[in-house]
Symmetry: none
Subunit: 219 residues, 4 copies
Amino acid sequence: MGHPGGPTNRERQAEQRRNQLIDTALDLFAEKGVDGATIKDIATRVGVAQGLVYHYFDSKEDLLSAIIERHGPVQPFSALLASVYERPAAEGLSLLAHGVYRVASERRKLLSVLAREILVRPEMRLMALGVRAQVLAIAGAYLDSRIALGELRPHDTTVTLQSLAASVVPLAVVGLEPEPYITHLVEILLRGVAAPGYNPANDQPTGPGAAPAKPTATS
Amino acid sequence: MGHPGGPTNRERQAEQRRNQLIDTALDLFAEKGVDGATIKDIATRVGVAQGLVYHYFDSKEDLLSAIIERHGPVQPFSALLASVYERPAAEGLSLLAHGVYRVASERRKLLSVLAREILVRPEMRLMALGVRAQVLAIAGAYLDSRIALGELRPHDTTVTLQSLAASVVPLAVVGLEPEPYITHLVEILLRGVAAPGYNPANDQPTGPGAAPAKPTATS
Amino acid sequence: MGHPGGPTNRERQAEQRRNQLIDTALDLFAEKGVDGATIKDIATRVGVAQGLVYHYFDSKEDLLSAIIERHGPVQPFSALLASVYERPAAEGLSLLAHGVYRVASERRKLLSVLAREILVRPEMRLMALGVRAQVLAIAGAYLDSRIALGELRPHDTTVTLQSLAASVVPLAVVGLEPEPYITHLVEILLRGVAAPGYNPANDQPTGPGAAPAKPTATS
Amino acid sequence: MGHPGGPTNRERQAEQRRNQLIDTALDLFAEKGVDGATIKDIATRVGVAQGLVYHYFDSKEDLLSAIIERHGPVQPFSALLASVYERPAAEGLSLLAHGVYRVASERRKLLSVLAREILVRPEMRLMALGVRAQVLAIAGAYLDSRIALGELRPHDTTVTLQSLAASVVPLAVVGLEPEPYITHLVEILLRGVAAPGYNPANDQPTGPGAAPAKPTATS
DNA sequence: AATGAATGAGCCTTCATTCAT
DNA sequence: TATGAATGAAGGCTCATTCAT
């Protein structure tokens, strides 16, 4: 405020300390749960006095909020969705699945914490349901567009996406290997929702007017 | 033990009290988490003194074990799997999906508790992974048999099952409506893993030239 | 509740423990102030664990309420006022002054605590003002009756009472000797409010119609 | 100190800051009590960092001392007493009463703080008792002189003064209106200690045979 | 079987105080 | 002069657990 010329050295250090506390808190919350991890745990692991935590955060609750703010997965998920837009269905689903795995892997600690807290805190549950609704809306619009283009058969795209996410995210959170699981999953889902005659191998949307190859098989 | 003629009156009452404590503990664990619920909470809700809890259980931990023992979902899931065996793939997958939802709904409180504890207790995590492996083995054997019969195309059946379970169980745990979600999900998965030309409507594998059933929505 | 035949042994002991905690808390609150005295102080002086205090009281605040309930000076002051009613003014004022000193002496610890808290807690201030108003109303009615009987000259009796109380109570709270201070005070106030010609030495109200002795002196 | 020519600009600013801190501390001590107000509270209200408080004061205790030094009511009370000296009793008592109210009103915050601390800090209690003794000595000498002049009857003047102060000061500290309370109080006390036949209206001692002034109300 | 008094460890939080910048 | 990061000692309160009755 009163010092033009960018952050001072001291402010930079304070910011670092703050982030250090947030990151350490996230580690410990993920390991022991929010209730199981103590402020003392966090301070000790960072190597400072307990009191310092309260210099940066009003309460444990506030610390949790700061964690979410800093590590919140909404932005990366949004970016992922944006990057998929306009891609053919086969490629898009694959990008989606692998992307979700990657983002969830990077944020696995936070997701682990949230998964626990959502079950017990109504406000967090509501927040999570809201985010879920937003993401489903955006991603659903993408899949619907692929239906309109004739790549996918008409269906409730929410189901596809929910299934995709529900299958992939826990994998990442628990830390299991993605492959070959995800590739197989994408194949199953794609076959499940592909329009008759859509050939993923082409990586090219078949025009809506294009005559599908003889329905010899569902593949 | 030393009294022939079945349980005495007193033993029956003790059993009832024990179960009452277990059930109430489960309720509270699900509401507030294992850490968030106190022994006093439980005793108060049952209408007894805290001390009594320790007549029936050695510790909070022991109480949690008793809950799992009494409400463990392994048996019903096993029964479900058994009931599906020998059924055609289309029917089997549907039975499986709806059955999983039903069982998970009935046990949603326990599953909610377990979901939280698994993330934080290594022993529980191992236990859960073990159960998962068993269930996947049994159910996988079933799907493999349907592959062998030509109903389903050869694929990693674990993926199908994992996806099914991961999609359905959270639905039940969070308390969302199953339909039309589950029906749609089954349709997608079934199409995704069906052998070419398999006609679910027949409950019989069909020749390659048979027309596939129309999708639910206008294609 | 569920045990006819009066309090059990255990209940009696619990009650004793409770009172012991209240009394010890009062001692310490008076010595160090409510903020200055710690729950540990109290527990230690009683010879129990800190936690036990919270078995009997919800909070430090609740403990303070219990102190007021048990040691509240309203009842004894009311009794004092009742005992004075119908007495001649001279005797009444003297009884009042000495009685207030006695009661305030007996409750000096609580009054000391309240004196401090009133200055800082609006609710307590209001409560105290309310009590003061009640007491002044009752005692004022007494003095007004003595005015009507011609013993005292018409005046704002609230002032007399307020002055009496304000002079006597601090004496008791601080623990100073009452005599000869109180006797002198009563004499001054009595002369200050006596009707011309009222002779306290008589301990008899002069009838309203009685001719006052020649106004040779005010005494 | 080492700079001739009066205080430098910087010294003047420092003095201002110091006084600002003292005044703000007094405000907060009065509002929340010495224990209840924090150094951070004070610094925040002044708009500076906590650390700065420790550039001006060694400790919270030292800050309290500085408050007393700056706002101590001894000087104004002394001035009041000096101004009363030689005045006739009736005028003197009235001046005293109103003057005490005025001074106590001006210093009500400090008096509120002291009232609380005296009850809990032995050193402060001693200090206060010492001040009280001094004031009573001076004011007592004044009243004794009026006794010697025949305006007041011989009596323990300490009692009169104590009663006056005890009645008036709390009024000011709590912030109640002075009138008509103080006027009535003075009248009562004056009648209570006046020599027989003393006529306040004259501001002159009157002979025993002189008719007393009519009471304020119809007697 | 049942009660609830009692314990004691530990948690979150506050706050006066210090100190490097 | 001024800042605010950092410390560390408590303090209020909770809670699983024990035990005499």
